[in-house]
Amino acid sequence: MSFAERFVEADGFEIRYLEAGNGPPLVCFHGAGGPRIGRAHELLAASHRVIAFEIPGFGGSPANERSSSLRELAQTMLRAVEEIGIERFSLWGISIGGKLALWLAVQDPDRLDALVLAAPAAIITNPRPLPPPEQLLSMVHAHPERRLDTAPVAPEVDAKQRALVGRVIGPPRDAELEDLMSRLEVPTLVLFGTEDRLTPPELGRHYREILPSCHFLIVYDAAHAVYDDRPEAFAAIVADFVERRAEFVMRRESGLLYP
């Protein structure tokens, strides 16, 4: 599965995105490490039109000194989705991209079919500084060998991304966001890995308590990068959830062994 590189303009940003697959649109917001296509993206592109954005200020894009908050950045990202010509979609956010996805969802819930938050960084009960780049890989992955793209983030890119994250991430417990979350009806799947040391799986219960339509899933043998550590499992459950939402609790696979 190869992803095509495309660009779209929104709020004066030239925004790069990678796209593959056909089917219901699934938009992806990456984490603080920047944009990266993993095995889970490829697997999901078998059943969905996957659109993975490079959020302005990350990766190869120029430094973003304009977006003042995730709330504002979420507006920019929604306009980018609209510019691509997509009205309704499912949204998958990773880590800080999960918090960005939540900000989009609470502002424009009618645009979303389903929300998927992979190790989201929207609720942090025990704040710790982001580890330095050389420690990040081993902290983020339980299985670094399963990661497709192993190129380290260049120091200047890392510095640019960290500066942006530090400016827009907001407080570890954001009362305003949590109040909006408590009224968000969009079906939401929240996933945390058992080996996640940045956002431990115990955080999942807070999302389950606050969000009215939340399904909390613990991913065994996965760290913060749940989608890289367990791509087959992650892609299968996400595909099923965005298709069936709350009905996904009921299995569809036959257990019949022989006719």
Partner: protein, 365 residues
């Protein structure tokens, strides 16, 4: 005090799975009642805990579901803890195991000891689980069970061997954060895993030398994870028979020694050699296969069994000395005793004698 709850009655066939030809329903009921009475007596004598286990398809044990037996035991044993060693979690539905353990902890007011084991090799033929996946299933199931006990919100589990879309067990365990867990630390893989997860260690069907090596690996691995197991975190299961004096105890035991010599002393694992050989080839015993399998063939005569800590036998004084040796050499704080005697009367007298003349002094070791 441990009872495998053996079937004491007529039978015709041997091997595993054992055919039910000649099976007596009356004998089975009497066998269960005898075990329940023995547990009750142990409770009255002041034993700290009583234990049931899981074994399938064999007159060696009438408790294929130890949860059911433990619920019955809970009606009779009012003070002692009730241990299950185990549930054989890799062949079970782990959420069901978490639910049943939580029920038992509630029924007993927080007296449950939750043993989690892999079972003997033949167990994998029972419900059609591939023995090569035993250890990975064990590790995942254990983590899932603990999560099911402790996670206050409904959650799903996306595992490697288990997947549940939504879990929220009722009742919840009484003990906080959850009942104590024991697992086998006989193999180095198990000892290292238990140490990494700070799980209490159990030793059974073993000998002093083999146990010494298991405990060494366990302690060393615990050290690398920054903790040290206390004596109460290491259990040793051993057969015992106490009589008024050493000579009497030996006389009592002679028919059992003869029967063991006749059968070769082989347990459930070797009752079906093809199944055990297949499990061995599948990697069931792990990286230390020869030593792990040799545990099943330890055997020996009475003196060898005492010397190698497969058996405690003799007067109260002698048995106390044998218990002291295990404490001294292995640092074990829990002895799980199987009272074996030719007759149930002898077993009861042995249990009483142990309770009155050995148990109070064991606490001072």
């Amino acid at each position: 005090m441990f009872s495998i709850v053996p079937y004491a009655g007529p039978r015709s066939g041997h091997g595993w799975p054992a055919p039910a030809d000649g099976y007596s329903t009356e004998a089975a009921q009497a066998s269960m009642e005898r075990a329940l009475a023995q547990f009750e007596l142990a409770d009255e004598l002041g034993f700290d805990w009583v234990t049931v286990a899981e074994h399938h398809y064999s007159p060696a044990s009438l408790t294929p579901n130890p949860m059911v037996m433990a619920a019955a035991v809970a009606q009779r044993v009012k003070r002692a803890k009730i241990a299950l060693l185990g549930s054989n979690i890799p062949i079970q539905n782990p959420v069901r195991v978490a639910e049943e353990f939580a029920m038992l902890d509630t029924l007993t007011g927080g007296r449950l000891v939750a043993g989690m084991l892999r079972g003997t090799s033949n167990e994998y033929a029972t419900y059609g689980i591939n023995p090569s996946e035993s250890r990975e299933r064990f590790m995942e199931a254990l983590e899932l069970i603990v999560r099911a006990w402790t996670e206050p919100q409904p959650f799903g589990w996306l595992g490697r061997y288990y997947e549940y879309r939504t879990i929220s067990i009722w009742p919840r365990p009484v003990q906080a954060p959850h009942p104590p867990i024991f697992m086998s630390i006989s193999s180095p893989e198990a000892a290292e895993f238990a140490a990494a997860k700070r799980i209490n260690g159990g030793l059974a069907v073993t000998t002093l030398d083999r146990a010494r090596e298991s405990v060494r690996v366990y302690r060393q691995a615990a050290g690398t994870h920054g903790w040290e197991p206390s004596p109460e975190q290491i259990l040793y299961r051993i057969a015992v028979h106490v009589a008024a004096d050493d000579a009497q105890a030996r006389d009592d035991w002679a028919p059992i020694a003869a029967a063991q010599a006749h059968s070769g002393g082989l347990g459930l694992s070797r009752a079906n050699p093809a199944a055990d050989d297949a499990a061995t080839r599948a990697g069931y015993y792990g990286r230390d296969t020869p030593r792990q399998r040799s545990r099943l063939h330890a055997g020996g005569d009475i003196d060898e069994r005492i010397e190698t800590a497969q058996l405690m036998l003799g007067s109260p004084e002698s048995v106390l000395g044998q218990a002291a040796r295990l404490r001294r050499e292995l640092g074990v704080g829990i002895l799980e005793l199987i009272f074996i005697a030719p007759s149930s009367d002898q077993a009861r007298r042995s249990l009483e004698l142990f309770g009155t003349d050995v148990l109070p002094r064991m606490r001072e070791l």
